[in-house]
Symmetry: C2
Subunit: 152 residues, 2 copies
């Protein structure tokens, strides 16, 4: 398989193009009252209904102490609220407020529009094949990272 190398290069490049478009969506959604980082946090929480601080900080690859400050600000802006867990009173759950959900939803809608456009450039069977293969690829990427994240 001599051209695996060439394919790998192209794959990386093309995925770069796609993700840069998703990033563009993010910066467009964030423009105005939210910073990009704040938007990412709203998304992270929105995807999971609620999050504990450590989860958000891991997802964003940021120190927990940094999170405290950002969540403070998001609380001031009325997008999230903190809630102490009653079972384990060390834990703080961060939850989107109505306003926060609205911001998240509108960002998701922007994403969705892009995703739809991308899929619409394919016929139905191509869509299915593409999703199936993408799933496979994501799995094998996860395995690779998993097996390497020990000796970072």
């Amino acid at each position: 398989m001599p051209d695996l190398e060439a394919k790998a290069i192209e794959l990386k490049k093309t995925l770069d193009v796609i993700t840069s478009h998703f990033q563009w969506i993010n910066s467009a959604s964030a423009s105005g009252e939210l910073s990009l980082q704040e938007l990412k946090i709203v998304n992270c929480i929105g995807q999971r209904e609620s999050c504990i601080m450590r989860e958000v900080s891991e997802h964003l690859q940021v120190a927990v102490s940094t999170m405290t400050g950002i969540i403070d600000k998001l609380e001031d802006k009325g997008l999230v609220r903190r809630e102490r867990n009653d079972e384990d009173r060390r834990i703080v759950r961060v939850i989107l407020t109505g306003k926060g959900r609205k911001v998240h939803q509108s960002n998701v809608e922007n994403y969705m529009e892009l995703s739809r456009r991308m899929l619409q450039s394919l016929n139905e069977s191509e869509q299915d094949v593409y999703l199936e293969i993408t799933r496979k690829i994501a799995r094998s990427a996860a395995q690779y990272i998993e097996s390497n994240s020990g000796n970072q």
Copy 2:
């Protein structure tokens, strides 16, 4: 096409997984003497052999005045050097040094390893189909962003 919506959701999610792995590669490569931003700059220059300041700043979506500082630091670390253009003496080209090229190469190699792994989870015809479709999708995403970037 009632389930285009469901497919779009899955597509977005799966692409997220993949890109988060690529991001992980970046932070792993940067760990130590380089910040993530600095690594991105090295990559940006490495991809093009050389860059003028404005190009890098546009690519990283950062003010040119910010670039000056980062490039200063990269110069101190011996990864890049500045070179005035003789034709147009306003222009500064930023070029990777040998050390800078090494850093870039090692990062590229990390990317490639992940790309290869992902492709290896597919048989040869799947690889070709996947690349073909990904290309299509990237094109249509570019069109969509293009047509929307005016009224941001």
